[in-house]
């Protein structure tokens, strides 16, 4: 019996607007990702790559279809259990780091654990450990405003993986970085997915970044096609 995929999206459709102003982004989109798989999604600006990630993370509702992570359909969940599920099962990395400016790097990384009810001491210890692994142990007490772009993104990656999520979703994670920092960040993401036997899905414009993933798919109005 084949292993259950970590991510399964079935016949997703999404559009915006009403009546004549309606724009369909995609329909009939299906996708499966197994443990240890890394997939890049490419496509032109405005084709709906970020929207697809939001649907997969349960941040937006599809017009049709459903999303299962580890066999669980989040589209059937109420907002509160869906938020708990997302915190536990999904890690998200944005193009812009989206760190909370009032918190230090360590506090930002510890935040998902604190939201899940972990004791503060344990959460901070786990955050320090992860920051050390992304090469930022000396910056754990620094606020985001004093960190460089690459450092902020590494803090954001540490925050995304601190709860060991099964699914790591990345929206242009290297889009605001120079080539050297982008390579570092990509290596971290791929390593995190491999290490935790999770699945990695990232959207990118950069063919170089896409080529580092095991498979590359192009988003079209009819769904995903092989690049």
């Amino acid at each position: 019996m084949p292993a259950e995929p970590i991510l399964r999206a079935e016949s997703l459709a999404k559009g915006f607007g009403e009546a004549e102003a309606r724009v369909e982004l995609f329909s009939g989109l299906s996708l499966e990702l197994g443990a240890g798989e890394a997939t890049a999604i490419v496509g032109p600006s405005g084709c709906g790559k970020s929207t697809l990630l939001h649907l997969l993370a349960g941040l937006d509702r599809p017009d049709a279809g459903r999303v299962l992570v580890d066999g669980r359909d989040w589209t059937a969940l109420a907002p509160e259990p869906r938020a708990r599920w997302r915190g536990e099962a999904v890690g998200f990395v944005f193009q812009l780091h989206h760190l909370l400016p009032e918190l230090t790097a360590e506090e930002n990384v510890a935040l998902p654990l604190l939201l899940a009810g972990s004791p503060e001491g344990a959460a901070r210890a786990a955050a320090r450990e992860l920051l050390s692994r992304v090469g930022l142990s000396r910056q754990s007490g620094a606020f985001p405003r004093v960190l460089s772009g690459g450092e902020r993104q590494r803090v954001a990656i540490a925050r995304a993986v601190v709860r060991s999520p099964r699914l790591l979703l990345c929206d242009e994670p290297t889009g605001s970085l120079d080539a050297a920092h982008a390579a570092d960040v990509l290596e971290l993401l791929l390593g995190a997915a491999r290490e935790r036997a999770g699945a990695l899905l990232l959207v990118t414009h950069d063919p170089g970044v896409a080529s580092r993933c095991g498979s590359v798919r192009t988003l079209t109005p009819d769904g995903l096609s092989a690049a």
């Binding site: 970020s50 929207t51 939001h54 993370a57 941040l59 937006d60 907002p79 509160e80 869906r82 938020a83 708990r84 997302r86 915190g87 536990e88 998200f92 944005f94 812009l96 989206h98 909370l100 935040l111 998902p112 939201l115 899940a116 925050r159 709860r163």
Partner: protein, 363 residues
């Protein structure tokens, strides 16, 4: 955002401080008025019921003096009559009191009769006595010793004369009285002492009037004044609370991105609502506490330093009095905190319903 939050905070501080200051001012003035009323009005007036006087009941005064809380018992003789001088006569309420050595006229009587201290007036009783030529009025000729408003609690122009003269005018035996004025150690215990006095002298044979009952219209007016001032200044706090609501709404709107990130990290709508509610409440609590402190300290300092003088001949007070009470602080603090809570509810709901995808797209 910092400036907006600061403006909301300062607004709340000023509103709460204004409410505390206004209530302290009212409490100061009213406390002074109540204290004067309690000083100048008998705390309890005990009068006979169903008969005109306590004639033949000399033990009544001793019984009243033995009641707990009674400091002094003064027998009084009250009746009505006329005061005449220079061919003029004015009707008057008359009170005979031990220790008076002449008649004290009310200022209005003094003006009407043109009678002033040192002059003689004739007091004519409403009773008469029989003489060989028929009934003749009972009169007494008395020197005017003072012109002043009598502090008997009757709220009508009243003349005070020696008790013996009053007994003669109203046909009472020596030591007879139409009532007893009681002064108490604690003026606020007047109702209790009045009940005990009625029980001691016979419930159906005795009537009592406390100083609060004698001044009921004035006390009611004071209460209404307090309510009106509270309602007016209370609006300042309501406006400050609305400002807080606006600030919290701005906070919820400007931190929409952060709310979206928290949602991505696993925070549910209830937690987001609690975070923004707590932010509003903290701002409200800080503003309330500072407002209470500023208002109370200002009122205490103004009272202690007598910084706001008054023309004493007009107000019987040399300065504006302030009195800060724990009850006022508790009422203002509770209301302000409750209002801060209510004002934070809508922004908290806004934060809980944030459109995460839209907020993330907006950056």
């Amino acid at each position: 955002m910092g400036v907006v939050a600061l403006a909301a905070f300062v607004g709340l501080v000023l509103g709460v401080a204004a409410l505390v200051g206004a209530l302290a001012l009212l409490s100061g003035f009213q406390s002074h008025v109540l204290s004067r009323l309690a000083d100048e009005t008998p705390h309890v007036l005990v009068t006979p019921a169903g008969r005109p006087d306590f004639a033949g009941e000399e033990g009544a005064g001793r019984t009243l003096a033995a009641l707990p809380g009674v400091v002094s018992v003064v027998p009084v003789v009250r009746g009505r009559g006329w005061i005449t001088a220079r061919g003029q006569a004015v009707p008057a309420a008359l009170t005979g009191r031990e220790g008076a050595d002449g008649i004290t006229l009310d200022p209005s009587q003094s003006r009407q009769l043109s009678a002033f201290p040192g002059e003689e007036v004739v007091v004519v009783s409403s009773r008469s006595r029989l003489s060989p030529i028929g009934p003749v009025p009972i009169t007494a000729s008395l020197p005017v010793t003072d012109v002043a408003v009598a502090s008997t609690g009757r709220h009508q122009p009243e003349a005070v004369l020696p008790a013996d003269a009053a007994r003669r005018l109203f046909g009472l035996p020596s030591a007879g009285a139409t009532g007893y004025e009681l002064r108490l150690a604690d003026a606020d215990a007047a109702a209790d002492v009045a009940a005990r006095a009625r029980a001691a002298l016979g419930e159906t044979a005795t009537a009592t009037t406390t100083w609060q009952e004698a001044n009921r219209p004035l006390l009611l007016a004071l209460k209404l004044e307090r309510l009106a001032i509270f309602a007016t200044v209370f609006l300042v706090v309501v406006v400050a609370g609305l400002n807080l609501a606006a600030t919290s709404a701005v906070l919820a709107a400007t931190r929409r991105g952060d709310a979206a990130v928290l949602t991505v990290l696993g925070a549910g709508p209830a937690l987001l609502a609690r975070v923004f509610l707590l932010a509003g409440l903290l701002l409200g609590a800080a503003g309330t506490l500072c407002g209470l402190a500023v208002g109370a300290i200002l009122a205490i300092v103004l009272d202690a330093t007598k910084a706001l003088p008054l023309p004493a001949q007009l107000f019987s007070l040399a300065h504006v009095p302030f009195r800060v009470t724990a009850r006022d602080l508790l009422a203002v603090g509770t209301f302000s905190l409750l209002w801060s809570f209510v004002a934070s509810l809508v922004p908290a709901r806004m934060a809980a319903r944030v459109d995460v995808a839209e907020a993330l797209r907006a950056g």
